[in-house]
Amino acid sequence: MQNIQWEKEVDVIVLGTGGAALSAAIAAADNGASVLVLEKTHQIGGTTAYSGGVPWVPLNHYMKDQGFSDNREQVIAFIKRLTLGRAEESMIERFVDKGHEIFKFLDEEAQVRFKTPKTYPEYYRNLDEALKDGTRSLDPVPFDLNLIGDWGMHLRQNPIFPPLTLEEGGAIGSIDFTVVAERMQNNIVTMGRSLVGSLFKACLDRGVETLLNIAGKELIMGENGEVIGLIAETSEGEKKYFKANNGVILASGGFEWNKQLTKAFLKMDITHPVSPPGNEGDALMMAMKVGAALDNMSEAWWYPAMVDPTFEYEDNVMAQLGNGRNGPNSIVVNKHGRRFAHEGTTYNDLPRTFFNFDPVNIEFPNEAPVWLIFDQQLKDRELIITMTPGDPAPDWVDQAATLQELAEKVGVNAENLIDEVAKWNGYCEQQEDPDFHRGTIQFENLTGGGGNPEANLGKIEKGPFYALPIYLGALGTNGGPKIDGNGRVINFAGQPIQGLYAAGNASANPLGPIYPSAGGTIGPAMVFGFLAGEHAAKTTLVKSEV
């Protein structure tokens, strides 16, 4: 141990550059720590930059400023309603009580700012416990990338969302491509890139040092079982040793791109991650090696991903968000040609039905790919993946004049599909879906006032008919090392591993297997990242002799 040639010695080392990591770095620096951030890839931003960049933060001051009220007990009851008993109440309360304080601090002291997207309500608004007016989701304000100088070139690109805010239709709604073009020309970014840009600027303002192309590989432990540093490896394969006087914060993303880990922990393979390919479980493996307790390991931020196969991102076919499953003129069927769920549920919930097991036929009938079946009416009305209304359907979209022909083309049971569409069209006539209750939940008509039969039940009747595969995707995994209320990693004895912290997708989601609304990923990630940074900066470890 005495012979280690340290490359650098700092108080706090943060792995990763997404929302959790940069929030941790800001908090640590503001509490007097010297901070070093290590990023595995050639770009800053991680999963956050690739996302909508929206944090979900109950009781936040932006809501109050807009005249929307929120209530602590109601929030806690709502989260507990979604967790179904699979999260610790103390962690829920910690998130609810600290989150809004942290976002107030980020606004006032770090110029990390948001707006309440008035046109974008809560996903589960139809539940009794949900917030009815306003939203707890926060929309990052547009950010001028020139403010971070040359680092702007290293901010991860976001091919998923156009440079519009949530309120401007960046995620749902009609896109003004003229505004998009202007923003691109002027280097103005929004959503995930905006959030990372403003967080990173706050890090630069605080003297936080960031190194690219260097991945954390192994924690260095002291004789008292505390973390005293880290072995990292550059993209050229050179090992470097970094000393952390106060702690190491693991915030380098999930494990959705690591086939060995997804096979070991998840119910089914995530064939189409909607995230940067660097998320290979580095933090999880480091934490396992030092005895971290794990939690929420079979879960992910699920997404029913779709694909325009002509696009690639970092040498992989790019999974995209798609569209079209929650309005009229479409249904989703399994390989048997049967509907199997309410098609317009939240993106996190629909894939959970892919895992249903049929104990009679001994199969997973809904295993992806499942199929979005739609007609020309939907094709004429909506942008679906990259297929624009008015343009001819590209050759990667299966289409046919009849449902029989379409089913045969894509390998779905034709007799069942024809029967299922006839049944669906009948439900549309009676304006009620007794099978899966389309037209009843908020998410299927999110920005249009919630689901209702008029908006969501429309016949599939005008040819040609189309079929698009829907794959099991995820925005990231959310299982990992279990943490306490200060972001400290807990061991199997229930004790904190001194000097080791985790946050974001590199940790177990403190709220368990839930996605409460837009930003359900980034909200807890930033809050527990911040708490980890704050705690690490203030901690004096009982050190072994080094």
């Binding site: 091919p159 691109m184 696009f311 624009t388 209304p389 590209p394």
Partner: protein
């Protein structure tokens, strides 16, 4: 309108350059991101290539219609997207400087249409001139290698 023009001096005669350029099969694989092409007739061909847009790659299919074969100094063509909504054109021009020196110019001009046109054109503003430059340089390099002259 995203467009790019790139000119290089080539230490070869204009006839040598024409002989190379007039057969599409000679230079098709030099198109950045080339996947395949099919010659339909003397003037029409279809192409597939993977464009590197920096933050992602996009496979496109397009059709090229040769408008003019002006031996030995110019090939002028139109192009239109088969997989995506865009159209444009371009040319190769050769200008004799001496018996052993020719100025070679490549030009591309592509405009995306449809709903996403304004956004796509912002991406093409960088991509099109870069592609024109890379293609012209690749052709000149190949010509020089084939004729054993320094680039």
């Amino acid at each position: 309108m995203p467009q790019g023009t790139h000119t290089l001096s080539v230490p070869l005669s204009i006839e040598t350059i024409w002989e190379f350029v007039q057969d599409m099969n000679n230079w098709a694989p030099l198109v950045p991101g080339y996947i395949e092409h099919e010659i339909l007739n003397e003037n029409e061909s279809t192409w597939a290539f993977k464009g590197d847009l920096g933050f992602m790659k996009k496979t496109v299919k397009l059709k090229i219609d040769i408008k003019e074969w002006n031996e030995p100094s110019a090939v002028i063509f139109d192009l239109s997207g088969l997989s995506d909504n865009f159209k444009g054109g371009g040319y190769f021009k050769a200008e004799k400087v001496s018996d052993n020196e020719t100025l070679m110019t490549g030009n591309l001009d592509i405009t995306a249409g449809g709903m996403m046109g304004p956004m796509v054109n912002q991406i093409l503003v960088k991509f099109v001139p870069q592609t024109a430059t890379e293609l012209t340089e690749a052709i000149v390099t190949k010509l020089c290698e084939d004729n054993n002259v320094p680039v």
